[in-house]
Each structure stands twice: as structure tokens, then as C-alpha cells.
């Protein structure tokens, strides 16, 4: 079922529960009603997801959850993928919760869904490069100055994990979204999730808001968790996209025959099927890699899997839209949303090109 991972009974039950949730609560019309509302209701399903205990599945037992391991994250992501959720489960719970726990902070409020976090880290193309946002110690507080552009979920987050360049390296802060001097300009992502530009203009942060951890390592680990989570989601979404598309080709008739009978379309479909299998294989590999201790080899495996999913996801998404013809570009057709989600995934945790450049360095393909 799920990436051929060795699943526990609990995993299987979790997967079934979440698949049911997607089937019952994530219909395309209901999603449109929430997201086309003014303002969009981007947290519409949050309370239900928290009641179902999904955050606990994304947090480790010592952080108060019952999951949090790579395979737990993969199961959740895989099951929820076809639901195209815009709620910040992955970022707020799996990633920010992880960072907070690494810094010895309580994640109870995150697990309960009461505290919603966005990860304000990436500034340029490359999420793995060091932040430029400036942090200085001034008397009894830190002062933050700089810009975090298009931060996913920052429109709905009450709190932010902010990375900054301090005098002795990277620092991480836990900052309330209503801190004086912080301007939030909401924007929208291609998959209908919310985001915002965060401008820090001499934002004063109390000393205890700085997270006590090896910031660079913690950030990298969070990013790798994010990439693996997205790989699992992409593999699942590819499967769903293929299913919808192949079914459609067997139903629609033109020139007196089913679309499935045309060889040009068969070959496009075959490439989709191949891409979907490649994504599953790479997602599985990434899940196993994430479980290992940090090393260049682990990062290399995950970046490779991520790049494979970026390319294959684009193939699957675009081919589906093309094969649906006019219906493929309709907002009413799920594959048009699947394609948009694939487009968003390429751009999460750095652009796909930036990951390629990072991989080129790790592989020694270029000298820098």
C-alpha cells in the first residue's frame, strides 16, 4: 500500500482513518467553497485534524506524540496527499514541533493545535544556505532586521520560527506573529495555500525567545524532514493523478473510440505510470535515508530523491492536464489542482534548481 514500507498495525489504522477523512471531508467542491471564500478559510479542517490526533502522529514520544519517525510522517503524508490540504500540519507540527523539541521547548500547544507555527527560514533560492536576516543583542533583548519572503502558512500562523544571522553564526528564534515591528503581507501559493512576506523592522525579541540548539544542524534536519515528507506526498499524489487520468481515458470517446485506444495517449500515460513508480521507489528510499544519522550521504540520498520527485511530479501533473484536454485546465477537475500541488512542491524548501546545485556540490560535480 504505502511505498512498500514495513508498516505496523497502528500505521495501517492511521492510514485507513486518514484516507477516510480525505474521502469524506476533502471533496473538491468543499475545498473550493473554503478556499474561494473571502477571506479564504485556510484552517477549515484544522480543528478536525487535531481532534483526530494527527499532530501526535507527527511528533515523537519524547515530544509527547506517538510517532514522528520518518515512516510515521510518510504514512500521514501519503494518506492525506489526495486531500490537497492547505492546513499547516507538516510545517507547524512535523517541522517546527521538531525544532522546538530539539531546543528543549514544550510542544504541547503545537500537538494540541493551539499554537500554529510557520517556518520563516528561506530567503533566497536555496533553503540550505545561511540566513541573512540580522539578529543583534541589544541590552535585554535581541533585535531582528530583514525580510523573509513568501513564507508558507505565515498568513495563519500565530507564531514563527525565525532563522537569523547572529554575531557567532545562525540563531533561531520563536517569535509571536504580532511582535511590534513585524509586518505581515499575506500572499497566496500556487496550490492555494497561504503565505506571507515577513518584514522585520527592528523587531525586539526577549532573550528567552532564542532557541538553544545547534541552529544550522537543526534547520538542515528540519528541511530534510520536509523534503522526505513531500516526496511521500508526491508519490501518493502521482498515484491519485494516474488513477484519475487512466480512468478518464477509458471513459471519454472521440472519433468514435475511447481515448485509451489512441497510441499517442497510451504512450503519455505509460510515461506517467513510469514516473509514478519512480517517485514511489525514491520516496521509499528517502524515508529509509532520513532514518539514518546525519551525514553527507544521507543528505545526498534525500536531495536525489527530492529531485527525482520534482521532475517526475512535473511529468505526471502536466501529462494529466494534457490528457484531460479542456477539462484538465478546469478548476473543477481535481487533476488541475494536483498539477498545481506538484508545482508548489518543487518550490518548497528551496527551488528545485537550488537543490540540484546543492547536490552538484555534494557529489563533487563542480568545484566551489
Amino acid at each position: 500500500m504505502t511505498l512498500q514500507l514495513p508498516l505496523t498495525d497502528e500505521h495501517v489504522m492511521l492510514h485507513e482513518m486518514l484516507s477516510r477523512f480525505v474521502a469524506e471531508r476533502c471533496a473538491i467542491e468543499a475545498r473550493a467553497a473554503n478556499l474561494h471564500a473571502n477571506p479564504p478559510r485556510r484552517m477549515a479542517l484544522w480543528a478536525e485534524l487535531c481532534e483526530l490526533g494527527v499532530p501526535s502522529a507527527l511528533l515523537s514520544p519524547d515530544a509527547g506524540g506517538f510517532g514522528g519517525a520518518p515512516d510515521d510522517i510518510a504514512v500521514v503524508q501519503y494518506a492525506l496527499a489526495p486531500g490537497l490540504l492547505v492546513e499547516p500540519l507538516l510545517v507547524s507540527v512535523a517541522l517546527c514541533g521538531r525544532i522546538l523539541h530539539a531546543a528543549g521547548r514544550s510542544v504541547d500547544a503545537v500537538a494540541a493545535g493551539e499554537a500554529v507555527y510557520a517556518l520563516a527560514h528561506q530567503e533566497g533560492f536555496d533553503a540550505f544556505s545561511l540566513p541573512m536576516l540580522k539578529a543583534e543583542l541589544q541590552g535585554d533583548c535581541f533585535v531582528l532586521d530583514g525580510l523573509k519572503p513568501a513564507v508558507r502558512h505565515a498568513d495563519v500562523a500565530g507564531r514563527l520560527i525565525v532563522s537569523a544571522s547572529g554575531p557567532d553564526g545562525t540563531w533561531l528564534f520563536d517569535v509571536p506573529a504580532d511582535a511590534p515591528g513585524l509586518t505581515i503581507e499575506p500572499s497566496r501559493q500556487v496550490d492555494a495555500a497561504g503565505s506571507a512576506d515577513l518584514r522585520f523592522d527592528a523587531v525586539r525579541v526577549p532573550l528567552d525567545h532564542r532557541l538553544d540548539c545547534d541552529a544550522d544542524a537543526v534547520i538542515e534536519d528540519a528541511l530534510l524532514h520536509g523534503l522526505v515528507a513531500i516526496a511521500a506526498e508526491a508519490a501518493s499524489l502521482a498515484r491519485a493523478t494516474c488513477h484519475d487520468t487512466f480512468e478518464y481515458l477509458g471513459l471519454r470517446e472521440q472519433f468514435g473510440m475511447k481515448l485509451a485506444g489512441f497510441q499517442a495517449l497510451q504512450h503519455k500515460a505509460a510515461d506517467m505510470a513510469i514516473a509514478a513508480e519512480e517517485m514511489a521507489a525514491q520516496a521509499q528510499r528517502a524515508v529509509f535515508a532520513l532514518d539514518r544519522t546525519a551525514s553527507p550521504e544521507r543528505t545526498r540520498s534525500i536531495l536525489t530523491a527530492s529531485l527525482a520527485c520534482d521532475g517526475a511530479g512535473r511529468t505526471v501533473g502536466h501529462s494529466a492536464v494534457q490528457l484531460f484536454g479542456g477539462m484538465g485546465v478546469s478548476d473543477e477537475t481535481p487533476v488541475s489542482h494536483y498539477a498545481r500541488r506538484f508545482a508548489a512542491m518543487r518550490a518548497q524548501f528551496g527551488t528545485s534548481d537550488a537543490r540540484a546545485a546543492r547536490l552538484a556540490q555534494l557529489e563533487g560535480f563542480c568545484h566551489e
Binding site: A269, A270, E278
Partner: protein
Amino acid sequence: MSDDSIAQFRRDVRDFIAQSLPADIREKVRRYRDLDKSDYVRWQKILQERGWFLGSWPKEWGGEGWDPVRQLAFLQESGEAGAPMIIPYGVSMIGPVLNKFGTDAQKARHLPGIISSDVWWCQGYSEPGAGSDLAGLKTVAVREGDHYRVNGSKMWTTEAHWADWMHCLVRTDSSGRKQDGISFLLIDMQTPGITIRPIVTIDGQHHTNQVFFDDVLVPAGNLVGEEGAGWSIAKFLLSHERLSISDTGPKLRLMGRLRAMNAQVQANPAISAGLKAILSRRMVEVSVQIETLRALEHYFVEGWAKGRPQGADASILKVRGTEILQALSELAVDLQGPYAATHEPRHLHADVEHEDSVAEMASAMAHQYLYGRCWSIFGGTNEIQRNIIAKVAFASVG
């Protein structure tokens, strides 16, 4: 099988090749030279002595009964370490067919030569008028007493000029469904009436041939299975090929070569930063592709062991394996810079006493590139494979 035992097996294969692969063969493979028949035979005999030549055969046939995980490990390790491939026509094709469908007499006659690699087999399937549509084959075998009289022609018969025997699909009946009139014959290549015409391919080499049958008399005892069973036997035979088809080992080796060539480019101060960035990006692309192929292979093999239906998995491996090899070989040529169009077919047979010249290395990569065009054509074209993949995909939702 545990991960530990498979890791140990991989080490065993690497160690064995390090110790047992003859130096001259190792050197030829390292330099992408063409191997001679005797090189293949020598290596296959060494593998047989070690007990690995029949690794994928079940124990009741005298093999090792390797499961797909172990077969894959062997293929990858030996390919990456530069061991010659095992020539499939005997041990992987006709051997299993005879074990499964052969008479006792046929087994006694042919299996020893297959196992010892003393008898070289070729495969007579394609014809001038029957390529992708193999069932349309027209080479006829007419029963006359104790013999079949065979007339017609086979095409793309690889190494027929080295072969002692051919396993051959012939038409024994033209009345009904075309698949039902096909039979499976074993033909001694010394039989009068057989002529072999060499075909030089796009890489400037002679690997393949057209074989003509002109009133060739084949003993009726050389029929395998019943008359008309040839098509199902051929399908059984091809199912034994599913793992070797993506063949990642040699691709990983070529990837290693690309790394070394790219490193030279990147270290060359005369080459612009822009060009270096483009080549580095292309390296990333092929690296991701080959790692994905490797992941896919493991994913399928592991899945099969857990009962995953095979569906179109073999076709997927064929398509991706061949296309990735082509992508690697295209970059291999482009990395030759001023020698990117150099191709001297004789270089493929040059001796290995001196280190290769730049032109010889370029010729080797040009050969990979040119011969690489064959991969997406033989063994069922990639278009036929995509037909199969789509058929299975559509059935999965229907």
C-alpha cells in the same frame, strides 16, 4: 533474506571478481574494448567453477536458486566491477526452456554444453518482416518424415557467427491464429543450407547477422515441446530476462567514468564557468536518473518478494534502463570536448598494452553512444514496452 546476508553476498561477489577476473579481460572491460568470444567463455567457466554461473537456476536444475534480490545483487556488483556480462542465449534462455519443456534426450544432449559454456547459442526470433510484430514470422518448417525442412531468414541474430546452435521460432502452420502456428526448433549451425550474412551496425562493428535457411533439414527430434507451442515457450523464455534488462551495473560503471571526465573539465582553468555549470547540471540530471533506476529496481524486486504483481514492471525497467544508458552515453560523448565527434571503430579492438590515447578514449565513448541507440530497439522496442505499460495501467483502474 536479511539485509546483512545480502550485503555479505555483495562483498563476496566484489572480492571474487577482484581475485578471479583475468587481468586482460579486466583491462579490456575497463577501457570499453570489444570482448572476444573466448573472453566471455573464459569468464563463464570461472563463474561455473565458483558455482555462480547457474545462480538463478532453481536447485532442482542444479542451480543455486537465487531469489530476485540475490540475482540483482550479483548483476549489479559484477557489472559495476567490470566483469563481462553473462551471454544470455544459452544459460538464461535455452537452458531454462530445455529444463522446463525439453525431452530427456534433449536435456542430455544440450544442457552439459550450456553449463560448461562450450557450446555457443544464438537466438533466431526476428525476421526481415517480423520485428515488433514477432508473431508474423514466416520462416517455415515443413515436416518430412524424420525431419523438418526449414526455409526462410532470421534477422538481427547476435553473434550467429560465433554460434554452434540456434534456438529458433519457425512457422509450422499458417491456417489459424498466427501465434498458434509457431514452433520452437533447435538448429545446428553447421547444417548444410545455412548462410550467415554479417550486418555492420551504426557503431561500425559486426555483432549481428542475417541468417538464411535454404532447404535446411532439421531432425524432428529437435522440436521443443509440441508443434505450435513455440509462442508460449518464447514468452516463458523472455520472462527469465526481466531482471537483467535494466542492468544497472555497467551504467554505474559508466557513471564513474563520467565523474572522472567531468572532474577533469571542472579542474581545467581554460574552460569557462558557464560551461562548467552546464556540465555540472547535466551530471546532476544523469546521476538522479541512475539513482532512480537503482531505487526502482530494488523497489520492484523487494515488492515481487512480497507478492507484488509483476504487471508491467519488466517493461518499465526496460524503458528506463535503456533511456538512462542513452542519456549517460550522450553526456559521455559531449564531455570529450574537441574529440566529441571522434569515432574510429578499430579502436574498439586495439591492444591494451599502452595507456589509451585521448582519441581511443573518445572512440570508446562514441561506441557507447552509437551502440546505445540499439538498446531502445531490441528486446521489444520501447514503443512496444509503452503499449504494454499503458495496457496494464488502464486495466488497473478498469
